[in-house]
């Protein structure tokens, strides 16, 4: 935003006022809503009800489903949602996490409030066709609630997920992008940048050990060109990527930068480093899920 320099003073004053007002409003607004846990895994149990191996089994299932179908499903188990009801809490969680692929938005939340004895299934808008409110309600009433009543939380969640996955599988959603990595470069500029900044020097240095510095940089440049071509980029981009990679390789293999050769080797050891959304340990939201209030709640 461009602003006339003469106004800078008043703008600053306005900003100060706005800040004061905002902090005052913040004080008034700060009711004790339940905090939303950070999105660290596909199943988050803050009540410690589920056993570790049960959590691992469900996590593995959800990961396998995401790899196969692309849809992100997250199960959250909390003690209570008070003072909100579970629908409002779920909405806040959905707005905060936005699970679902970025350009498709296929996310699904299953939230259980153990002490409230309520649960909710909330599909993002992209999945409202696959899981209409009625279907969600039936999964809750017929599949999950009977098991929850017997205290079998893991079994209820697992059986419910089976039904939900079957419903999602019936929907014609786009296939997940190949796990090979190259397909992602075309759309994901951050990946391309990471490749440029990290992978090129590492590769160039490794090659420099075998072929000598100049040849290694040329090879790296050619490799970068081939990769860009494989990613389906235009001619200009391909032509641009080769000299850039050569240059960056030359800089990276300069004597000054070779003080700690061992450090980079360590970080290259992880073959999953470039896999994008789902690396082995962590889990990242696709950021595309738009939760419009669909789904159903139930109690047991």
């Amino acid at each position: 935003m461009m602003r006339s320099p003469g106004l800078a003073c008043s703008v600053l004053r306005m900003a100060l006022w706005a800040f004061t007002l905002a902090s005052l409003c913040g004080l008034a607004y700060g009711q004790a809503l339940q905090a939303i846990p950070p999105l660290s895994a596909r199943i988050i149990d803050t009540t410690a009800t589920l056993k570790t191996e049960q959590v691992q089994a469900i996590e593995a299932r959800l990961r396998a489903f995401e790899v196969a179908r692309g849809t992100q499903i997250v199960v959250l188990m909390v003690p209570t949602t008070a003072p909100e009801d579970i629908a409002d809490f779920t909405q806040r969680v959905g707005d905060a996490w936005k699970i679902g692929r970025r350009d498709i938005g296929d996310g699904l939340l299953l939230i259980v409030a153990r002490n409230d004895r309520t649960l909710r299934i909330a599909p993002a808008k992209a999945l409202e066709g696959a899981i209409p409110d009625l279907a969600a309600r039936q999964v809750i009433d017929r599949t999950i609630v009977p098991r929850f009543r017997e205290g079998d939380f893991a079994g209820g969640i697992d059986a419910g997920l089976s039904r939900l996955m079957a419903l999602i599988a019936g929907e014609a959603l786009p296939e997940p992008r190949g796990a090979g990595g190259t397909a992602r470069f075309a759309s994901d500029w951050t990946d391309a940048l990471v490749l440029l900044l990290v992978a090129i020097p590492v590769i160039a240095r490794r090659l420099a050990n075998w072929f000598g510095r100049k040849l290694a940089c040329l090879l790296t440049g050619l490799g970068a060109g081939v990769l860009t071509w494989a990613a389906g980029a235009g001619v200009i981009l391909i032509l641009l990527s080769v000299p850039l990679a050569v240059l960056w390789g030359l800089i990276a293999t300069m004597a000054v930068w070779r003080v700690h050769p061992g450090r980079q080797h360590g970080s290259w050891g992880n073959p999953n480093g470039r896999s994008g959304t789902w690396s082995e340990g962590g889990f990242r939201s696709g950021g595309g899920g738009n939760f419009g209030g669909g789904g159903a709640s139930g109690r047991w």
Binding site: M1, M2, R3, S4, L7, S10, V11, M14, A18, A87, Q91, D133, L134, R137, F291, G292, G293, G294, G295, A296, S297
Partner: protein, 203 residues
Amino acid sequence: MSLARSLRAVPIFMVALLSLLLGGCGYNDFQRLDEQTKAAWSEVLNQYQRRADLVPNLVATVKGEASFEQETLTRVVEARARATAIQVTPETLNDPQALQRFQEAQGSLGSALSRLLVVSESYPTLKSNQGFQDLRVQIEGTENRITVARNRYIQAVQQYNTLARSFPSNLTALALNYSIKPNLSVNNEAQLSQPPAVDFQKK
């Protein structure tokens, strides 16, 4: 000659300056947020429409219950007729009175519906009627979607109004006559401030 040429360049320069100023004073932001509020409003209407579409089915199902409270039923039918009679296009959205009427109509349909759902609890045949229970789930889901859509509209209007009132974009609003948009409100504020009367004596 060169003076004439530089004089000719003045309008071009002025246009460039004006477009820069307009961009800087939030002209584009006004357009973006205006579109955003319209889209959010369309979603609100969309969900209200979905509710209005579900009501006839619900009424038909409840009519099958011979002994059902006729007064509750007619209130729903009348409220739906009133709610669907008031159409609010994005153009009339800037009219606070029209918005108020629309909100009142939709609000009375909402309360008539919830009354019907509460009353239906005391009819065992309705409670075990699968069609009725399915409609009930759909209406609950729609009410929830209405809440979310209204919430998003309120936020969109808030962003627009903040831009229209804060400096220096308020000058743009003044120059181009962009007024503040009326926002949604709770229409039974007085009723909500009363504590609910709980009566355990009945039944």
